[in-house]
Amino acid sequence: MKILSKIAFVLSLGMIAAGCATTQSQMLKTAQQSYNQAEKNSAITENASVDLYEARKLLNRAKNAEDTEEQEHFAYLAQKRIELAQTRALQAETREEAARLQEEQSDFSATIRQQQIDQARQEAQRSQQQLRAYQSEEQERSAQRAQQAEAELERLRNEMAANKTEQTKEGTVLTLSEVIFEFNKAQLKSGAERNLERLSDFLKEFPERKVVVEGFTDSIGSNPYNEQLSKERAQAVARALEADGISSDRITARGLGEAFPIATNDTPAGRQQNRRVEITILNPEGEPEKAGRGN
């Protein structure tokens, strides 16, 4: 009997002890479920393992609680810890996504920059091609124009009453005799003006051309007198061209007097030859300072 009662006593003690902990509150059940799910979630086990571990400890304390109040307290803490684990796992994943998107953004930015570079390069190429095409067109045109001018000059040489025509490095030189002037004067005869019209027509058609007009005398008379006369005669030719509409900055007039005789001054025929006007029609890029005899 004593043994039986002892056993009964121990049993009832056990039941009382067990009874305090067996009734699981809803809070604990919920927390346990949350934990079970969280354990299976790889994002959580990878990124928030510490929180999960702490949650498990809290769950155990809840299960071993002495009364409902303590159980609910630790179950609550466990549940919140699990939610914290979930939040931290989500945070880690979102951060990774942000990092990936950051890279993607950089890649796209780089693509755009590259596109812009390529486009700019293409445009530059197109511009260059256009420029080259234009340049070769220009060259074509220049060549054609030069040919035309040559043909015109040929005609001019034939039509103008020139004693001589000559090609020099600087251009075409027409030599006009002094008969175009009144005797011993710097005044042009009327026929001469018409003659010079042919020259001014050429100069109007080819506005890029310049002329150098140089007057010469024979050796009779003083140097100063001859220089003055030759200069006035060159200027008379220049003025005639200007009157025809050729602008003065295309015309250079010089008087060289007795210098540069082309024949002997000992005979009348020779002296007559020396008394002359030389008109140099410059080549397209010709410089007046370098043309003629008196440069």
């Binding site: 803490l77 919140k80 914290l84 939040t87 942000a98 998107l101 953004q105 812009q116």
Partner: protein, 132 residues
């Protein structure tokens, strides 16, 4: 022999009794300071959560933390130090949660901004391509 043993037992029991009483007393004072410490932790974590915009981005969790803290303070006033500790621990748990949630909102905004930016860039690329 027997009398000596009995003497030892009495001494031991007396010693244990004193220790018990002392620790019981000590328990009460460490309970109060522990509660005070936990209240402090909960308060500062709530402040931190508010600084991270939890008021806007995790209002529910923040509210719960504040309510638990109020309950903890009430318990503390009543000298219910164990209860105060528990409520304070719960407040702390809620506050940490509120703080963490507020952070995720920020990060998600960043993701959205990046997504939109990438969309714009894609459109720009398409436009440029058709211009060529």
């Amino acid at each position: 022999m027997r009398p000596k043993l009995m003497h030892k037992n009495v001494g031991l029991t007396f010693f244990l009794a004193i220790v018990f009483v002392l620790s019981a007393v000590g328990c009460a004072s460490t309970g109060e300071s522990a509660a005070r410490k936990k209240l402090g932790s909960a308060e500062s974590t709530i402040s931190q959560a508010q600084a991270n915009d939890a008021t806007q981005h995790a209002p529910l969790e923040l509210r719960m933390a504040q309510e638990k803290l109020a309950q903890a303070n009430d318990a503390f006033e009543e000298d219910e130090f164990i209860e105060a500790q528990w409520r304070a621990d719960e407040a702390l748990a809620d506050a940490k949660l509120a703080d963490a949630k507020a952070e995720t909102v920020e990060t998600r905004k960043t993701v959205e901004t990046l997504r939109k930016s990438i969309d714009d860039l894609k459109k720009q690329i398409k436009q440029q391509q058709t211009q060529q």
